[in-house]
Amino acid sequence: MTAATTTAAAPSAAAQPVTGATRHRWGVTVWLSVGWLVVLTLAAALADILPLYDPADTRAGIPLSIPTSQNWLGTDQLGRDLLSRTIYGARVSLVVGLAAVVLSSLVGGAIGVLAGYLQRKVEAVSLFAADVLMAFPSFLLAASIVAFTDSRGLFTVVLVIALLYLGPTIRIVRATTLSYANREFVTAARSLGATPGRIIRREIVPNVVPTTLSLAIVAIAGAIVAEGGLAYLNLSVAPPTPTWGSMIAAGKPKIDQSLYPVLVPGLALFLTVLALTLIGDAIQKRQGRNIGAI
């Protein structure tokens, strides 16, 4: 190319570096986050065929051992292998996080879209329901349902955590729907004789879904934390299934003797939540919104 084009390109190149550098930086952290989630999911899914100790085997090593060639991440107070327990524990965290948010997004999303589009009574009733759900001390609601039903299966835990996100989901989806409900393309579709069902399916939902998706990723992080908290209080999936929260709770009294029983599942929890937060944040930045503004 000629020298003229190079000089012409130079100013824009000089203006670019800052944004270019930040975008690149985000790229790396986001890909690292995706990488961590993929590795964790694969390990959790393939835990049965990986060369791991049985998570309940108390003879995997000396109790409260530090990382050794035999137990890569050390052992807990009963001599169980921490690597194996953390990987098996990831199953509960990932399944509960994903299933609870999918459930609350589907139910809350449907209610929110109907409330935002049909308005009037539907809107009043669903907003009131959302208010009640949000005014309820939600973590305690979850805890009491698990405690009272005395069924500490995966399904109950998923249901209970989905309930935590129902109120906010209804509100956010309704607000997003409202912002589209009277736009020109919706009015145009209506004047062409489209039924409300068709308008919701073809005009509203495709616009609302992207917003809900990026919020859902952040909500998965929250749901995983909520499961960890319930498990810490011994109100999540019952033993012998290992969960990160119950591992942390079991390791806490021995924290003066060994950090690893708390550190290993704690770090797994932290990295997973951080990865989801970073991905959600990056998506929201691209969509031009701010995570803190929810």
Binding site: V18, T22, F128, D131, V132, A135, F136, P137, S138, F139, L140, L141, A143, S144, I145, A147, F148, T149, D150, A221, V225, G228, G229, Y232, L233, G245, I248, K252, I255, D256, L259, V262, G266, L269, F270, V273, L274, L276, T277, L278, D281, N290, I291, G292, A293
Partner: protein, 315 residues
Amino acid sequence: MSRRILRLLAVLVAVTAASFSMVSLLPGDTVTAVLGERASEEDRAAAREELHLDDPLPVRYARWVGGAVTGDLGISYRTRQPVAEALGQRIGVTLELVLLSQLIALALAIPMAVLSALRPGSWLDRTLSGTQLAMLATPTFLVAIALIAIFAVKLGWFATTGYVPLGDGLFANLKSLLLPSLALALEQVALYARVLRTDLIATFDQDFIWHARAKGNSTGRIVLRHAMRPSSIGLVTLAGITLGRMIGGTVLVETIFALPGLGRFTIDAINNRDFMALQGAVVVMTVGFVVLNLVADLLHGVIDPRIRAQRMAAR
């Protein structure tokens, strides 16, 4: 405003009715929980009679509401202590914890947000934003355990658990609450700083700020006198919501640090199926949530004269 109060009252009634019926609808026998598995049939019948468990649900709810408005929240099934009295002993700890953590959160979040907003995109802004994301990603109960591991076990500066009442000296009291409130504050720091940063950046771009700058005001004066007030509405709303949330959200921290607060009380009530105690705690928390939301609403008017004018016009 009065419509909003009515609406919040309706929410209050709905929440208490829901929590009241929840325990009746869910399985698990109250009498067995109170008397144990081996109680005789006569004792069970007497207990059912005494606790009015055979009355229809609406009757029981109406009787409970009648008591509640006069400050009588019933008697704990397990300890036989009046629930209102038990709550009174616990609520102080939780309120102190929540207030202290909010003070810490604001004290950290406001300078962080201002530093970020003055130079958005700078290395400082990016470092702070990254730190805040990490704070958001650390579950509170993990922070609590990490603080215990570092400051109590490793360094030995604090007792690992336990609460020193205010009567035993202010310093000892604050010292026993410092780690728990720090643990609670961390997530709030990130949330508050992010909201305030966004609002401040928007405000800094407004004409009146450019005007103040053109007049030669120092940056510090511009931030404090001109930018802070119009930028704080988002923060006040958020703080109102979080404060309300936290009254019920301290369960884990209170459990980890063995603090005799409301959250711990509630989880004990849940585990023992102590229905009246649970119901009382739910009411206190919901009232707190509702009231704090109202206060945040009122503060909007104090901060922004336009909102005040609108309200006057609407009246």
